[in-house]
């Protein structure tokens, strides 16, 4: 098989992995080598689906022996199969990198023979890249559940990020849909990565030049909509993963029916893109805005679909508004719809010089259309919508039926946002 055909098969097979970020690592280049990592990450292109391409995202192989019902590469699926050699992966990565197509490599794989056998091949690809080819660009490796800790350790010493997919929000569903996987062998490598990273940090305190274990940390991904789990369940699990394993990111992937199984949605089901979008918004609020998973869902099972979760929270807590721009804490400013992390910081810096008027706020980047009903400046309230009116909800909601083509600008540009 031609190399180009392999790339087409194994690129297509990898496209359902949502992770694309190339951020979080400051790996330096060196003379005689090629590449370095950019702390904030760089996207290099955007595909026709509007998702960014930052890393060469491929599978080592899609000749998988597992039969996970939700996966396009399960062994019973009728799809062309291919497997790269480690040399081929190194060749394509370097050739693409030196043309500035990519920031580095995202390497995942179906299971050939067993987890350890496959991960050894992936390790070999990394070893060739890092040593023979002198490659210092970004590498993200997906760890297969059940891989030996010793291999995970060797891979982490060469990669910038390692990750293990949670797959499904509920452990009991996993047993049903992915008979060869279970929550324990998914959690085990996460624990392993966490402890190896801590151990490595200790070593680096003593030997400053010791190599870093996965400098960009670990991330994970779960499929949304393949099982009847609620948003509340998904967000609680995400929150626990962030806290317990210091995850850099939890990715969500809207499920599109690729197989049939009595417990999976029927083949004509549309992928829940809007739901995925709301979950990402909630995820952002947990990571950068100081919200807790419980605050976002409260008594509800699911997030509101026609309001973003921040507006939804604000409307449920009108007693906490309006907020006075000149005196509110940074953390209070962050909770105002229309004020983001950047504009909240600008407000805090600017009001040290002089107190702010409504007319100043637009220049600071505040979205007044959203914010004005929630704020006062020097005690003055300037919204035309009377505070707490029922019109406010209608005004803030994103009306119109969802056509599946909603733009996801904030999330497509994920790698540009500095993490951690």
């Amino acid at each position: 098989m031609e190399l180009s055909d392999k790339l087409a098969i194994l690129g297509e097979a990898a496209r359902y992995d949502a992770s694309c970020s190339s951020s979080g690592s400051g790996r330096q280049g060196r003379r005689g080598g090629i590449g370095n990592a950019h702390m904030a990450g760089i996207c290099h292109s955007w595909a026709e689906d509007g998702r960014c391409i930052s890393l060469l995202k491929i599978l080592m192989s899609n000749a998988c022996i597992y039969n996970c019902a939700y996966c396009a590469n399960r062994c019973t699926a009728n799809t062309p199969r291919a497997t790269f050699t480690p040399e081929e992966i190194a060749d394509i990565t370097v050739a693409f990198y030196k043309r500035n197509y990519i920031e580095g490599l995202f390497l995942s794989s179906g299971v050939i023979k067993g987890p350890d056998y496959t991960m050894e091949l992936m390790y070999k690809s990394l070893l060739i890249l890092r040593t023979e080819r002198g490659f210092c660009g970004y590498i993200h490796v997906k760890v297969i559940p059940g891989t030996s800790p010793e291999i995970v350790n060797r891979i982490g010493m060469l990669a910038d990020r390692v990750s293990v997919n949670v797959e499904l929000p509920a452990a009991e569903r996993l047993a049903l849909l992915a008979p060869q996987k279970n929550r324990e062998n998914i959690i085990a490598p996460m624990e392993e990565i966490r402890s190896l990273k801590l151990q490595n940090a200790e070593e680096r305190k003593q030997f400053k030049t010791a190599p870093i274990f996965a400098p960009a940390g670990q991330s994970t991904q779960m499929i949304v909509g393949a099982t009847p789990d609620s948003d509340a369940k998904i967000l609680r699990l995400s929150s626990a993963l962030y806290k317990r394993y210091s995850m850099k990111r939890v990715y969500f992937s809207a499920y599109v029916p690729v197989g049939s199984h009595p417990t999976l949605p029927p083949p004509e089901t549309k992928a829940p893109l809007l739901r995925e979008h709301r979950l990402y918004q909630a995820d952002w609020l947990m990571r950068f805005y100081g919200f807790d998973a419980e605050e976002l869902v409260e008594a509800n099972d699911n997030l509101e679909s026609d309001l973003d979760p921040k507006c939804s929270w604000a409307l449920r807590h009108m007693d906490m508004f309006p907020v006075e721009i000149n005196t509110a804490d940074y953390s209070e400013l962050l909770r105002v719809p229309g004020i983001g992390v950047v504009s909240a910081k600008r407000i805090v810096a600017a009001r040290r010089i002089r107190s702010l008027e409504h007319s100043d706020l637009k220049k600071l980047g505040i979205v007044m259309k959203r914010a004005s009903a929630f704020i006062t400046c020097k005690g003055r309230f300037e919204s035309r919508l009377s505070f707490g009116s029922s019109l406010l909800r209608a005004f803030l909601s994103e009306a119109g039926p969802y056509d599946g083509q909603m733009s996801l600008p904030e999330f497509a540009s994920v790698p540009m946002i500095t993490e951690g």
């Binding site: 190399l3 180009s4 790339l7 087409a8 690129g11 297509e12 990898a14 496209r15 359902y16 280049g29 060196r30 003379r31 005689g32 080598g33 090629i34 590449g35 370095n36 950019h38 760089i42 996207c43 290099h44 292109s45 955007w46 595909a47 026709e48 689906d49 509007g50 998702r51 960014c52 391409i53 060469l56 995202k57 394509i92 050739a95 693409f96 030196k98 043309r99 500035n100 197509y101 599109v256 992928a271 893109l273 600008r346 810096a349 600017a350 040290r352 010089i353 702010l356 100043d360 220049k363 600071l364 083509q405 733009s407 996801l408 600008p409 497509a412 540009s413």
Partner: protein, 245 residues
């Protein structure tokens, strides 16, 4: 008073020096020799002076605003605001960036941010082609760009650090300049001496990249409007994956 200066960064800095020397920061207008005066105000022609320009640069560096001023200057047409911005920095003894509510500060920051984002776009979108020097010479990676602003200087550090052992040539086709990196030093050169055959974009890896680019898109998520938001059409003529072969 209208200060007429040469249309270059050095010319602009020389004018800044002269305005401060004349203590005219409350009443001045800057104009380049290319521009047309209205003839109502008194004019003074500023001769570019490297020493004056260097003194201004050193002061800007000590205030931590050199890069800001340089990038805002590249945006063009906001010279008066830059001078007011510098004046604020001097009275503050540091960056006035937190005073974004001020019109001059806002103008300078916006200009600088636009140039910065244009420069970042080229960290993303530059596409190199491999060219072999004739007579068995080495490989050189060549890219053509047509940036809105003159950003070659700003992006040099990124590419030089990234490719320490790979000679590079980045040609700004709009301005007839090029960034040249020979693995020892880099400099900005004028184009004519560097003319080479047109980039063809034909090759094994170019084709593989185009094919991969099609394969990674998820068909049922197709959203060309969103794609265009991130990769505006004006960049595509120099990007391998958007060139049809």
């Amino acid at each position: 008073m209208v200060y007429v200066h040469e249309d270059s960064f050095e010319g602009f800095l020389s004018a800044v020096f002269t305005v401060f020397e004349d203590k005219k920061t409350a009443d001045f207008t800057l104009r380049t020799t290319e521009g047309v005066g209205l003839g109502f105000d008194e004019e003074r022609t500023v001769i570019s002076d490297t020493e004056h320009a260097d003194r201004v640069i050193n002061r800007l560096r000590s205030l931590g605003i050199y890069r800001r001023v340089y990038t805002a200057y590249l945006y063009g047409g906001v010279e008066d605001s830059i001078l007011l911005y510098i004046k604020r920095a001097l009275s503050l003894g540091g960056r006035p960036d937190q005073q974004r509510y001020d019109d001059a500060v806002k103008t300078v920051l916006t200009a600088s941010e636009r140039v910065g984002s244009e420069a970042h776009r080229f960290l993303e979108f530059i596409r190199f082609e491999s060219l072999r020097e004739p007579n068995g010479g080495g490989e050189i990676m060549v890219a053509d760009i047509e940036p809105q602003y003159d950003i070659l200087h700003i992006i040099s550090n990124h590419f030089v650090k990234r490719f320490p052992s790979q000679p590079l040539l980045i040609r700004d086709m709009r301005r007839g300049k090029a960034l040249v990196w020979d693995c020892e030093n880099w400099h900005i050169s004028t184009l004519p001496e560097l003319l080479r055959p047109n980039i063809t974009s034909e090759g094994e890896f170019e084709d593989m990249w185009r094919r991969y680019f099609q394969c990674v898109a998820i068909p049922w998520r197709r959203n060309r409007k969103l794609q265009q938001q991130f990769v505006p059409l004006r960049f595509r003529s120099n990007m391998t994956e958007f060139k049809t072969q």
